[in-house]
């Protein structure tokens, strides 16, 4: 891991909750969409807050693609766990949503769980087996 890779993971962590929060704010303005009016979802992107949310989510997507190009899927997702905490803080203090104590405990458990994973090795992909030149089976270390 180097600074560039840490910055990419930080991008995954930060852009996703910011994008989700702007989407949430915009969708509250758009109002409830019933299952009978699904096409209204397509019009929802005309809301400026939804548009800003989409821009942040594009930033998340670019960071995510880059991270997936050099790390396991089961490493990238836990590594972005700080996003859950950031999302809760944004929801509470910027969107003024009510978050119960139980839900706070749940968010802490989720963050703790994914943090637990990241304390392990960053690459645990099962090494594919190849036949070496002498015909014996050798593992390829990633």
């Amino acid at each position: 891991m180097n600074l560039r890779k840490y910055l990419v993971l930080a991008g995954v962590s930060v852009f996703a909750p910011l994008g989700d929060s702007f989407l949430s704010y915009g969708m509250k303005q758009v109002g409830n969409i019933s299952l009978r009016n699904i096409p209204d979802l397509l019009l929802a992107i005309a809301n400026p807050w939804v548009g800003i949310g989409i821009i942040f989510l594009l930033g998340f997507f670019a960071s995510y693609m880059t991270a997936l190009s050099w790390a396991d899927l089961t490493y990238v997702l836990p590594a972005s766990s700080l996003g859950y905490v950031l999302l809760a803080l944004i929801a509470r203090f910027a969107l003024h949503e009510q978050i119960s104590v139980t839900r706070w405990v749940g968010i802490a458990l989720v963050s703790g769980g994914v943090g637990f994973v990241t304390s392990g090795p960053e690459v645990t992909r099962r090494p594919p087996r190849h036949l070496s030149n002498d015909g014996s089976v050798a593992a390829e270390h990633s």
């Binding site: 699904i38 089961t74 859950y84 989720v110």
Partner: protein, 131 residues
């Protein structure tokens, strides 16, 4: 009361749709990006335009994006019915658990006991977030 129940039901339906489509998308995108290689290094050697061309021509990437589009609109639907502090973490956490299964089955990543234990921890957190 009934309106609250409908909001909860639609919220959890959206979460289910997000988890299924997002997990499929994650696996497809991961496979596609592994085929291309380190995007940062590739960009340094061949330029950004080359990287973008490689990515958008990858069929796993295109299928993954289609799945992510379904996931995105499911998210919009869910956010129109319930709080972001429930939809966001619940969908992301359950996706994490589903991805552990999918990564083991389809990407052949080694998901050890530490990761399974963490998955249960995450699942418990999601249950608590529902109340």
């Amino acid at each position: 009361m009934i309106k609250h129940a409908i909001s909860n039901l639609n919220g959890w339906l959206a979460i289910l749709a997000i988890v299924l489509s997002s997990s499929a998308g994650d696996v497809l995108l991961s496979r596609g990006m592994k085929q291309i290689g380190d995007l940062g290094e590739l960009g340094g050697k061949r330029g950004l335009a080359f990287v973008v061309l490689q990515v958008v021509r990858n069929r796993y990437f295109l299928m993954g994006v289609a799945c992510m589009a379904v996931s995105f609109y499911s998210l919009l639907f869910g956010l129109s019915w319930n709080d972001v502090s429930l939809i966001g973490p619940a969908a992301a956490s359950l996706t994490f658990v589903a991805n552990a299964f999918a990564a083991k089955m389809f990407l052949h990543e080694h998901v050890d006991r530490r990761r399974w234990a963490a998955a249960l921890c995450v699942a418990a957190g999601v249950v608590l977030m529902a109340f």
